[in-house]
Symmetry: C2
Subunit: 197 residues, 2 copies
Amino acid sequence: MADFFDVVLGQRAYRQLKPDPVPDDVVMRILEAATHAPSEENHQPWEFIVVRDEATRQAIGRVTQEVWEAFGREYARGQLTPKFFEAVDQWATGGLAAAPVHVVICGNTERTPEEQLPSSIFPAVQNLLLAACALGLGSLMSTLSVTNRAAFSPVLGLPAHIVPLALVPLGWPERALGPARREPVEEHLHRDRWGGR
Amino acid sequence: MADFFDVVLGQRAYRQLKPDPVPDDVVMRILEAATHAPSEENHQPWEFIVVRDEATRQAIGRVTQEVWEAFGREYARGQLTPKFFEAVDQWATGGLAAAPVHVVICGNTERTPEEQLPSSIFPAVQNLLLAACALGLGSLMSTLSVTNRAAFSPVLGLPAHIVPLALVPLGWPERALGPARREPVEEHLHRDRWGGR
């Protein structure tokens, strides 16, 4: 049993994962949690591709690395602390492919129009991340590879009506990490109207 | 203490809420959970407007009702079961305004580009919904009113760089409801590639 607030306040990105396999019943429990997220009119437009095949994980890694090198890396270098940049760079150029399970979360445009998919899909992704944390797995959400849909979709044989929205690698953490750093709520809080205190 | 899986599997929309006030420390605990969601490069682009003022809640209710009557109602009538339609119709035409607290979740385009806001905001909304559930509150996520940004933003005095993305009414449930109905994971699961079993 995991306390809800311990999980929600402790959930964070893990980029360094062990290659050890993740049992299928653990993955299924995580996906069941994902399907309990809300969606517009309960249309449940999510589709999950669970990738264990190594060649496919490496192909996903290559698409990610290409987007990273073409668009992400130089932008990130100026945005992130050197330590954070180094961790992301190592992840995008090899760490991701080494994670034993990739879960690709897609939206089905035959259930929900494409422009309304994000509000029906990202809550399910968050449930997935939280459930992984509750079960001791490391994970993170990445939208890097799916921004190049033309390169990404053929890797998984996704038909045209299926939109890949996020990638979540899963695995057992190399080591436990402390909680993520967040700004205090008060800095993001407004009472009754913008700027209200 | 609330068990994580009890919360995540039990979380569901509550449309009928008591008018009783919700203590501020409860709201703050829910918002703290929201701020522990991931965001792109940890930019934390969320802004929360907590509305208790009755006139403002009624103004939000009017924008919602106008969008519902102009675009949502006839579409939904053909999509939903009669009972579900009736519940949503009552909510959109009065129930929402009566909820004692409205939380409006916005994205800050000075932190994250607008097209990348959904993947950084909807996970926080889901944490908010789950934390409300863990503390016994009823809630739901609605994107109805914010689709008419031109009408919605002036109600809260939102500046141009702040994008409203979701509205979550909070309150104590009129009565407890069972878990939401969801399709089995297996119907949304693919192994290694689309259609893989």
